[in-house]
Symmetry: C2
Subunit: 213 residues, 2 copies
């Protein structure tokens, strides 16, 4: 059989994609604790091949996460870049994210709770190297968009980054909670969150007859 260098490379890459798709099926079916054996079986092969391709379980999971993260980010970028007023853009972005996690909660769960990846034994301060590089990527992405589209004065860059991560966190936590106990429609949730970002908390009056006063 004819097999030049390039065709080999593409074959290997196609194989890698097949493996990733098999892993995807298993993870979506069994959750993030799917065993390497199960994944290998689904792909019709055995463990060592997985290890040759991805190094270790963390490698496989990271590759999976990158795929899904890229897909989600593409959708978010579209909403973020649409040429409509800011409030509409914010709402569209929130809605895109929430629709995504609503449509495929298993994917969402996998991305947000990748158990543990590599973990260098540096024994120290690497807090948060776990838990969702997705969140950080989204935060940075949003920060960039804010920085380049909103006029925030001298320290605007720093501000944009704080807000980027903050808003993403807000979206995430609210979405997580909303997904658990569907307390209202998605559209309502979007409105509520946009209202929050639009300063309605600051504008609201004190409750009459508050406790203690």
């Amino acid at each position: 059989m004819e097999m030049t260098q390039e065709s080999r490379r593409t074959a290997s890459e196609r194989r890698r994609r097949e493996l990733l798709e098999a892993a995807d099926r298993v993870v979506l079916r069994d959750g993030p604790e799917a065993s390497m054996n199960a994944i290998a079986a689904e792909a019709g092969i055995t463990k060592p091949i997985l290890y040759r391709h991805f190094g270790d379980k963390g490698g496989l999971y990271r590759a999976l996460a990158v795929r899904h993260t890229d897909a989600l980010l593409a959708g978010l970028r579209a909403a973020l870049d649409s040429p409509v007023p800011r409030r509409d853009r914010v709402e569209a972005t929130l809605d895109t994210y929430l629709a995504a996690i609503e449509a495929r909660p298993q994917v969402y769960r996998f991305l947000m709770h990748p158990s543990d990846e590599g973990q260098t034994p540096d024994s120290g301060f690497d807090v948060g190297r776990h838990s969702a590089p997705l969140l950080r990527r989204m935060g940075e992405e949003l920060a960039q968009v804010i920085a380049e589209r909103v006029d925030l004065g001298p320290v605007g860059d720093e501000l944009a980054r704080v807000w980027g991560h903050g808003i993403v966190g807000m979206m995430h936590a609210a979405g997580d909670w909303w997904l658990r106990e569907q307390p209202c429609s998605r559209a309502q949730l979007v409105q509520h969150l946009a209202d929050l970002l639009w300063g309605r908390l600051a504008a609201a009056g004190d409750r009459p007859g508050g406790p203690g006063f």
Copy 2:
């Protein structure tokens, strides 16, 4: 030796506390992946005792988490309840949280990424049962405070819950990012986040010379 029912109970509880403290030391030293063996060794005993006291690893970790969560929530409640203007209260709360995670990043990391707890094999939609009951508790707590102190009209309760979880998520994500790469002082971060909640994003003007226009 005299040993009535009550003295037994208190003895058992004291033992439990000792075990928890040992576990605490190990977890703070080795991170959330500390093995049950290591914890038992630190406590000067062997595994089965731990299992008799806490059922399984999830039980132990839950007990640990409850301790720390209670402590953190106590601090937050104090900031949340202080009789000062709303903006000051918000800033105090943010600062309390950030000071806590800054002071003890290991505790923070443990609380936020408890790997996985129980996991009933219901095979389905229990997204988010993992990842930090702390976040949810904080969200509910804040929601309650908002609902009882801020006048938000007819659907105020729903709104308060959305905001509670959203704000907590914002605080968490921003704090996590800030802890990794200390890009500014804590005070500045608090200001930035409070500004965000006060609607400065809505108030800011478009950037002159934005891309595409």
